[in-house]
Symmetry: none
DNA sequence: GATGAATGAGCATTCATTCAT
DNA sequence: AATGAATGAATGCTCATTCAT
């Protein structure tokens, strides 16, 4: 019945779900948010640009007024995602508190973020492996992240080697993905125990 | 004249790259190997099934005689890949030797394998996130790996927690990917230093 | 009713209008012929590649197995067209006969051909003006035509200047287009009179 | 800093290229002129109506306030173009002078005009072949041109046949296009020689 | 009068899959 | 067992046109 509406009852106009005219920045934002959700749910390759637009309440053409192409939104989504994560981590790190408590918070932020954006992350890694534009963008982002991380630890006596820092980052990331995937529990791991391991690693790093 | 060859002189046969008729198992294997290479080079989504067949020296139809669909070959490729990796690691672990030396070998195997199959791995992770069939297959494989890992450490006094084991595995994996990607060097890390860090982690684990 | 067929009566299979499997050359030819007709009727820009395929009795994908893209078929159509025209003109010129009679035949061939392929011709000229690939192809073809024309007049005492030759060619072409368009009659011209003028021009050239 | 201008400093207004509000006739004229340039450069099909407006310094909507659609502007552009050409030719013809001198001027005007508006002309011919509205408009214009041409030759003793007149017109047009295209030189013709041939044809016609 | 955000049908092209040979 | 021509739904993207402001 509902399906037939559009064809058989042109008189009963459906209410336009979105403002027909709005500030471009708002539109862009809505498109970006919708894209983030869709990419996260079905992956980069699982989506088509028309759907991205429709999901945000717009038509196909509107999408291309705001983003050059599908890859471009994807990168924008990723950029946004990274920014948010480090914003939160920065907040935690700059706050006072016992080492353990702060470590727990850091791990918490990581896990939550990766659980939330698991689909985007895995699409990202697949694209990095095959698309040079994405690869370049990704590396630039990572470098910024790492520099920030180093900055954060500026006050410590013994600077950890850049390598050790990165390795910790990688461990956190990969574990977060595994928890998000359900891979961890599928392997019979207890999430709480895994989490504890991570916290210990972070504490060791903070204390150095 | 030469230019016309391909069109006008089918008699001057190009070397038939593959036997036109062979044992099914051979055909399957050749298709599998070609698929592994292609997936690794251009990713799952970047591959088209006709090309998979052609690259192995067969036609489109032959491919579908041996594999139900594209996903199926992909899983077969993955399975094969995991098997090879653990075969090698098993060899290393069962060999005698000083802890450091064995740790270096293990890290070496990991890094080499991940560098070699980087494209397949990133495609895999993207699929795991969106395709339930792939996800299930992947988890089953992982469980087998982990069990094997636990078996390998059977002789040690203090059994490491399953969680710590997995975490080490994750760290190795992620670091191997980063080295393979070029991400590590792009971040200004010294591969040798990174490698050393990994070796230390493995030693700590072996010694326990 | 008919519209619903495909959905509601899969049992009543429509007869496949074309052989499901045929020699590639045949398929290519059918596609080429259909394309020629469609381009001629609705112009290059008025056609979409799917229609081109469907009109030949094939599906969208088949088209792209035989031609790299829309432009490529168009050039193939043009090439074919030129070849046919000069084939006929060559036949006329190499035949014996009084100058007037041969001139009438030449004009006849020109007018008939241009009337027949008027749409292709005008699309061609529009593309030549904007698409460099088409422009290059076109010029190469024209040069061949002109050389052939010069060859044909090899036996004459006073060689006409290349410029005069071309000018005659142009006059014939443009007049043929005008007749084909209906432009000539719309201007109140008598086709027979126009034709006579052309014949006189050709005679003057042949006799030189 | 400079880079950021466009984004962050809307205050530093770029010079407003056009008055935001003006006499409708002015707006229309500006749109028309911009359209002429764009059509000429990239052809009718290569132009998008938004660009037409923007190039004139207006927005998409404004365009449609002044012209019913894309085709309508195109016809207006064409009309304008024809008017200009005949204005100039009229000036030449009504001036005194030796036959040769006047013929040279006429040919000059033709060649210059066609070189200048080559893109518009070829788009026009493509549209005439497929779009009845354009075809009708075109024929009406041509009739006016021809009548004017006949008028111009009113004083001569022997009226040339209408057909011969048109044929001369066609030769001039086609040759002018070929020179504008670069087709003529690509065929190895010497522009000066071609031009001379045309002048002779015009002289013959003027003298009659 | 002018704007420009939004529309949505349309288009060129690709690719996993089938099936007659 | 192998072929490869054919399919056709799907995809990324464009553009003439509208209309609320």
């Amino acid at each position: 019945m509902a399906r037939a509406r559009k064809v058989s009852a042109p008189l009963a106009a459906d209410p336009p779900p979105r403002p027909r005219r709005g500030a471009p920045a708002d539109t862009r934002l809505r498109l970006l948010q919708a894209a983030a959700e869709v990419f996260n749910r079905v992956g980069y390759e699982g989506t088509d640009s028309n759907r991205l637009a429709r999901e945000a309440g717009y038509s196909a053409g509107t999408f291309y007024k705001h983003f050059a192409d599908k890859r471009t939104v994807f990168l924008a989504v990723y950029e946004e995602w990274v920014a948010r994560e480090w914003e939160e981590i920065g907040r935690v790190l700059s706050a006072a508190g016992a080492a353990r408590q702060r470590a727990e918070q850091i791990v918490g932020v990581f896990l939550a973020h990766h659980a939330r954006w698991r689909g985007v992350r895995s699409s990202l890694r697949a694209l990095v492996a095959t698309d040079t534009v994405v690869a370049d963008f990704y590396r630039a982002q990572r470098r910024v992240q790492l520099d920030r991380m180093v900055t954060l630890s500026a006050g410590r006596r013994h600077k950890a080697s850049r390598e050790a820092d990165v390795l910790l980052l990688y461990t956190l990331e990969r574990a977060a993905d595994a928890l998000a995937d359900g891979e961890a529990t599928a392997l019979g791991l207890r999430p709480a125990a895994l989490r504890l391991c991570l916290v210990e690693l972070v504490i060791a790093r903070i204390r150095t």
